[in-house]
Symmetry: C2
Subunit: 364 residues, 2 copies
């Protein structure tokens, strides 16, 4: 049955890599209905929201979503770029990716970290996407109840409530359970035997206990998967030194944010890093890279991250065989090194790389 | 004038690397008075506190402190190891390093990241040591005021106050200002032109504003140092891909914890990573590595991290010339690769490496 995909090219190099990737995917001849929509900086400037109503509607009508890239500017520059008629109306720019994750309840952010070239490591960071330090409670200047919670701390006492800021790291049974279940299922589906839970239990003890309790409980349903709780700092070190030791990692939102970018670094850069954001009733897929404004219109961006993102989306839609075929083709081209972009040491352009991948799709 | 140093070898390989390093340092013939003290796991087991009173007294009487290594065990194993007469008295193990940092007000944790071997990069992570997620407010099961702050979040609502945990990330003008001033001074003293402030301002906006305001204010006193605020995830990626771009990084406690271990990974492992914890009225120095229980008594541990830690301590005590001499000697031995431990691809033992470094100290 035909699957529909909302395609949101977004900003900067987004449109270039999306269009190159979709041309490549056409070769697979899959029953996919791509429906183009708007997101990003222009929507913000002209309409006061980077995710307009019509885009939410499109997301409701489609099976999943492919996102290109999103501009990110310092917050204080955002209002100045708004259409004059909208300025001063109290609108604030909220990152479209955070909007999608929160509003669609996409609690699992899946970022595979694979050594395409050498096959030395192959693990996945599954990042919690809805709570942790991203829960949205971040204040500068404290009211009475929050001030009471910290006033005994010498730094707070020396600063006063006005000059103190607090961010709440929220963790809940609901959030932890669904993340862990997702992690175990992912490990099982991908033949991984080790689930590493990233935390800092010696320091964040009480929240660490909640996580440990839930892990011990849920692990009983998955006797074939070994589990461990590791300190986030140790994980960062080992990702660099011994990436081959990992299978599936699950991490709180901010730890996962850091570790998945680090994963891109370990892989050799953002040019190869795909991701998927998945919930019980929706999903969207995006390369980890940003909109790279300095590179726009030059046919320079590496389309491989987007191609691997499409492959991840195909898996999710149930087209696992073509998904794997696409990944194989990308791997082959990356390994050959003859047709790769600057970031992988080559001189090829975006379209040229995408075509080289498409060529591989033809011959088996 | 003679400087006194509290030497706390601690657990595991701590005593081995401390003793090897001190033998080496003797060659420098400096007016140092080393005074041995107790810290760590045995103190916990026998006395119920890993930092006994007599050690606090020693710290008061000395100019600085050299720490070896500290055992770290999952919290729930700690009470079981207490002396039977102390069990059930409500004692909890609190990491000695956190005790030292908090009680002595050692707000700046300085972790140099240097490519000893190739000289390709040389930057310093300065981690805030007293606030952030380490402020000590971490609860599982929320009382009324804290529950009110999060009850509107869908995950909290779905879990209830009992099954929700919160950790407070505290940032204060007091904490930020002294850290930034320390960072600028460090950059100036070490000829660095770029101060990178690590944050996540697009997501943690209000706390990000406090940090930005203070940075802008304090930066005026240091017109020769360029500043930037970068996202923590981007910093993790760039540390791996382009470590040479960094000069001095200042980071909130948890971000700094992660990034400095990552720095050790980028350097080639914990065998080369020194650190110093500094406040306005005290300091202690320790290698970043742990107690490595599996390696004890085998003369296998790399003493270079400890030797570099001693060098950092010598700088701090005002012996910068011998400090640099010691660092040079370590670099020379590391580069030669003939007398290095297993982690650097060699077969030499702890004492042998320390002696090789001592030999270099003789000849200029
Ligand atoms: C743009 C930003 C809000 C986002 C995040 O922090 O999640 C990005 O870094 C990511 O990892 O997708
Ligand atoms: C042992 C632990 C409490 C400590 C920390 O988190 O600060 C360690 O990881 C470090 O970096 O010194």
């Amino acid at each position: 049955p035909t699957k529909s995909v909302a395609v949101l090219p977004g900003d900067g190099i987004g449109p270039e890599v999306v269009s190159a990737a979709l041309d490549t995917v056409e070769k697979l001849g899959l029953p996919l209905d791509f429906r183009l929509g708007d997101i990003g900086w222009d929507c913000w400037r002209q309409e006061g929201d980077p995710v307009p109503q019509r885009t939410w509607k499109l997301l409701e009508e489609t099976d999943t979503c492919l996102l290109g890239a999103i501009t990110s500017k310092p917050l204080r520059e955002t209002e100045a770029e708004l259409d004059p008629s909208l300025r001063g109306t109290g609108l604030t720019y909220v990152s479209p990716v955070l909007q999608l994750r929160q509003r669609l309840g996409l609690y699992a952010n899946i970022r595979p970290v694979t050594d395409l070239d050498q096959g030395r490591f192959d693990f996945t960071v599954i990042r919690e996407n809805t709570e942790g330090l991203y829960a949205g409670i971040d204040v500068h200047g404290l009211d009475e109840p929050l001030w009471n919670a910290v006033r005994h701390h010498p730094n707070a006492a020396a600063s006063g409530p006005e000059d103190t800021s607090l961010t709440l790291r929220l963790q809940t049974r609901h959030g932890i359970d669904r993340l862990l279940r997702f992690g175990f299922a992912h490990a099982e589906a991908h033949g991984k035997r080790l689930l590493t839970v990233v935390d800092k239990p010696m320091v964040l003890r009480n929240s660490g206990n909640l996580l440990r309790e839930r892990l011990e409980l849920i692990a009983r349903d998955h006797p074939d998967i070994e589990t461990e709780i590791l300190n986030v700092d140790a994980v960062a070190l080992w990702m660099v030194r011994r990436p081959e030791r990992f299978g599936v990692l699950v991490a709180e939102n901010m730890f996962g944010d850091i570790l998945s970018d680090l994963g891109a670094g370990v892989m050799g850069g953002l040019g190869l890093a795909p991701s998927g954001n998945i919930g019980d009733h929706g999903s969207y897929f995006e390369p980890v890279h940003g909109s790279a404004p300095g590179m726009v219109g030059q046919d320079k961006a590496n389309p491989m991250a987007m191609l691997l993102t499409v492959a991840q989306m195909l898996d999710h839609l149930g087209f696992d065989v073509p998904g794997e075929e696409l990944r194989d083709a990308v791997r082959t081209v990356a390994r050959a090194r003859t047709t790769v972009t600057y970031d992988l040491g080559g001189t090829a352009g975006t379209r040229e790389v995408a075509r080289a991948v498409a060529d591989r799709l033809g011959r088996k």
